[in-house]
């Protein structure tokens, strides 16, 4: 069973750059055809300040920390047994190319189902930009297969 005493743990926050080239690569990797995500001229004509990061891109910022998936070390997880259970975003602003985003995550809950065969790890993340505006919040549930 996972160590429930870690509930409430605050992961080290970090700040990362949102690079224009990265957003274009991300757009390509999801077969994006809307030019608002690849052409700055179009984005600005549509009222955006710069190339906008698409709705799920915030999750990619999580990966830019000093350690890939720090929850793995914290809870001593085997990466091969992790599945993504659910993901939710709330948007309070927009993340743009050129932003510096500070990512702060907290281990919100650990619970189990099926007598511990499946454990659920819930993490809550907030994203703030260089102006200290909270631009997005996310909740992520990982499913851990003990069986």
């Amino acid at each position: 069973m996972l160590d429930k005493s870690k509930i409430g743990h605050l992961f080290s926050s970090f700040t990362t750059d949102v690079e224009k080239g990265r957003l274009k690569f991300f757009a390509k990797s999801i077969n994006e055809t809307n030019p608002v995500y690849t052409d700055e001229v179009v984005a600005i004509a549509e009222g955006y300040k710069a190339l906008p990061a698409p709705p799920t891109f915030a999750f990619s910022l999580d990966m830019e920390g000093p350690e890939f998936l720090p929850v793995i070390d914290l809870l001593n997880l085997n990466i091969a047994k992790i599945l993504h259970g659910s993901q939710d975003f709330e948007y309070l602003g927009q993340i743009y190319a050129g932003d510096k985003i500070t990512v702060s995550s907290k281990l919100k809950n650990i619970f189990d189902k099926k007598n511990g065969a499946l454990e659920f790890v819930v993490m809550e993340t907030s994203y703030s930009n260089q102006n200290n505006d909270l631009v997005a919040k996310a909740n992520q549930t990982l499913v851990y297969r003990n069986a």
């Binding site: 991300f26 077969n31 939710d88």
Partner: protein, 133 residues
Amino acid sequence: MTTITIGTKLPELTLPPISRTTLALYAGASGDHNPIHIDSDFAKKSGMPDVFAQGMLSMAYLGRLLTNWQPQSKLRKFGNKFSAITNLQDVITCSGEVVELLEINGEQCARVAIEACNQDNTKTLVGEALVAI
């Protein structure tokens, strides 16, 4: 602009079949380098028949469904459960329907039920979004 009402359907989005290249490009672009999605040796050693798609890849497709319909600046909330694994060669179709009109913080919003399905009609992602209208 067409009126948005309960029952309004979002224009569907069907993606090309998932290939190993799809998974490799998404791994690089998204920063999710979990080897279970890109290294078949690792996947097999972990008891999976082969690599399988990142859940967040299909969630990004659902994001495209939403932003093809309304500009992203109107998106307030977006979430889903990952209910089935997406395998190589699967063809994912994203669809959505307005299920409720409501006012939140003085703003008119539509609650949209969204899902991603594979070619066998298995639901791979099920969720909802809140969009200002």
